[in-house]
């Protein structure tokens, strides 16, 4: 009797552990396979069509031919610039607001923050990007056109603002968590030394939460970098290097999204698009690596190993 129940117990133990391990391995394998597939597809631009890496990253000449013969130009600089500029602008706009909100909802008005503000921020994060894009197109684009007296309101500025609104909740909630994780004993010590609330926030809480806040900013950046739909609705989709924040242009993601359906399988255009997808993959890998770096730094700081 005793042995049979034990047998059942261990049987379940192994079965569930097996399932958990399988799921884990599957996800790892899937990531590796996607990476390998992107390398396989994306390398055609360089190996089969003979473009250099320098041309791909540094040239703004974008005329890949839609056939397997090749011979066009595959410079993705326009899209790389478009992505960098829109995301940079989005970060510039979103970070101060997000940091301010995170401080407000944790340090200044904690009860209101937890009860109302955080749920609102979470709702923000859950709104589908097409909605953001559409609202941007309907409200923001005409607004920019009228206020700045442009011919069209579609612009990097519009894309940057839409992205800023989209990444704001990510940065806010990750930063708020980082701030909440700062031990209360630190705040008490600061108050005990006669600090004002602002001095405590500025000199103790923010520095202690800095690695987490930076992780939040990178996470927001990663989301902005990967967003295609909302951006494509407001950026004007012009294949040209931007001259100012009022220019229309394209980003890596919007170009892939708009061209992938038209391009011929095995053609130069399709390969160039795959190369851009590979670039996006590598950039997100970089972001994740950075987040891990800062998370570990935060842990080291909390444990006092290194300073």
């Amino acid at each position: 009797m005793n042995t049979t129940t034990q047998k059942g117990m261990f049987g379940k133990e192994y079965a569930w552990r097996g399932i958990a391990v399988l799921c884990g391995l599957f996800v790892i394998a899937l990531t590796l396979v996607i990476g390998a597939f992107l390398i396989y597809k994306g390398s055609d631009t360089f190996l089969k069509f003979g473009h250099t890496l320098w041309e791909f990253l540094g040239s703004a000449k974008w005329h890949p031919v839609d056939s397997a013969e090749g011979g066009g130009a595959a410079g993705a600089l326009i899209f790389i610039t478009g992505s960098l500029v829109t995301c940079g602008l989005a970060l510039l706009i979103a970070t101060p607001f997000a940091l301010g909100s995170a401080i407000f909802m944790t340090e200044i008005s904690a009860r209101f923050g937890e009860k109302f503000y955080r749920p609102v921020v979470e709702i923000f994060a859950g709104i589908p990007s097409v909605v953001y894009g559409w609202v941007g197109l309907t409200v923001l684009v005409p607004f920019i056109r009228n206020v700045f007296d442009r011919q069209v309101g579609h612009s990097i500025l519009a894309a940057g603002i839409v992205l800023a609104v989209m990444i704001f909740p990510t940065i806010t909630s990750v930063s708020a968590d980082a701030i909440l994780a700062v031990p209360d004993a630190c705040r008490k010590a600061a108050y005990g030394l006669g600090s004002t609330r602002w001095q405590t926030i500025r000199h103790i809480v923010i520095p202690a939460a800095a690695p987490g806040i930076i992780s939040g900013i990178i996470l927001g950046l990663a989301r902005a970098f990967g967003e295609a739909l909302a951006v494509s609705m407001v950026i004007g989709q012009t294949t040209a290097l931007p001259k100012s924040i009022f220019s229309t242009t394209k980003t890596l993601t919007t170009e892939i999204a708009s061209q992938m359906g038209n391009a011929m399988e095995g053609g130069e255009l399709k390969s160039a698009l795959w190369s851009m997808a590979l670039l996006l993959f590598l950039v997100s890998l970089l972001f994740i690596t950075l987040i891990h770096y800062f998370t570990n730094k935060g842990k080291a700081k909390a444990e006092g190993g290194k300073a």
């Binding site: 008490k188 005990g192 030394l193 006669g194 004002t196 006092g304 290194k306």
Partner: protein, 251 residues
């Protein structure tokens, strides 16, 4: 004749509807060590925190009565921030900032606007020397304070408090998280510091109160039952409840 540092009259404190301190009146002398003893929950820590208004940070606290420091009402004639510049605090758990040893001690002076490196260096060294920890830490000023032992952290926290040059140091069970050797170092330090500072210490440890304090107050259920010279409290307690507590009949 000793100068009176704190004069407390008819102090009552409520947490919501809970009456935590009941009509407390006492005079705490300057340049002595005053110990507050009593069982857990008796209000001794709460009372300590009324002296630098740390209770202001908690919600639902109402206070009536007067607390005067150097004849000035700390609740009506001073703001809490300025008060805490004069009344430093050392907490039960060592709570250094997640910064270097140097930055921990320099924190206070810096928020008071001292920026000059030479001046900060001097304050840091002086404070660490006063806290009898300079020799141990002088070669690791740039290392994180979180890497120190508990006893070192607590002495660093004392140094950090000394750096703001307070007049009073409140210690809330400063040795309860420490080993006996670290404890005796903190006790020696407190005895040394009373020349220049008024020290008020809350302790669970009656031997500690007997060893280091000049005056002792015994608290029970929010009341200050007995207050007097330490030797009198321990040798000739007037109140039956004090006697029961110090002879270990409850606690």
């Amino acid at each position: 004749m000793l100068k009176t540092k704190f004069e407390i009259e008819h102090l009552n404190l409520h947490y919501g509807s809970f009456h935590a301190l009941k009509n407390i009146s006492m005079k705490i002398p300057a340049n002595e060590i005053t110990a507050f003893i009593g069982p857990s929950g008796c209000g001794k820590s709460t009372f300590l925190k009324t002296l630098n208004r740390m209770n202001d940070l908690e919600e639902n606290v109402t206070i009536d009565g007067t607390v005067r420091m150097d004849e000035k009402d700390i609740y009506s004639e001073m703001d809490a921030i300025t008060l805490r510049h004069d009344v430093g605090m050392v907490f039960q758990q060592p709570n250094p900032f997640p910064k270097s040893v140097y930055d921990n001690v320099a924190y206070g002076p810096r928020i008071f606007g001292i920026r000059k490196k030479s001046q900060l260096d001097e304050i840091v060294e002086r404070s660490l020397r006063q806290a009898a920890i300079w020799n141990e830490l002088k070669d690791r000023l740039k290392k994180s304070a979180l890497g120190l032992s508990g006893g070192q952290q607590q002495r660093l926290c004392i140094a950090r408090t000394l750096a703001i040059q307070p007049k009073v140091i409140l210690m809330d069970e400063p040795t309860s998280a420490l080993d006996p050797i670290s404890t005796s170092k903190i006790e020696d330090l407190a005895m040394e510091l009373k020349k220049d500072y008024t020290i008020i210490i809350v302790t669970h440890n009656m031997q500690q109160a007997a060893r280091i304090s000049d005056k002792t107050a015994f608290f029970l259920l929010g009341e200050a039952i007995e207050y007097g010279k330490t030797e009198d409290i321990f040798a000739r307690p007037q109140d039956k409840r004090t006697e029961n507590y110090i002879t270990g009949r409850f606690g």
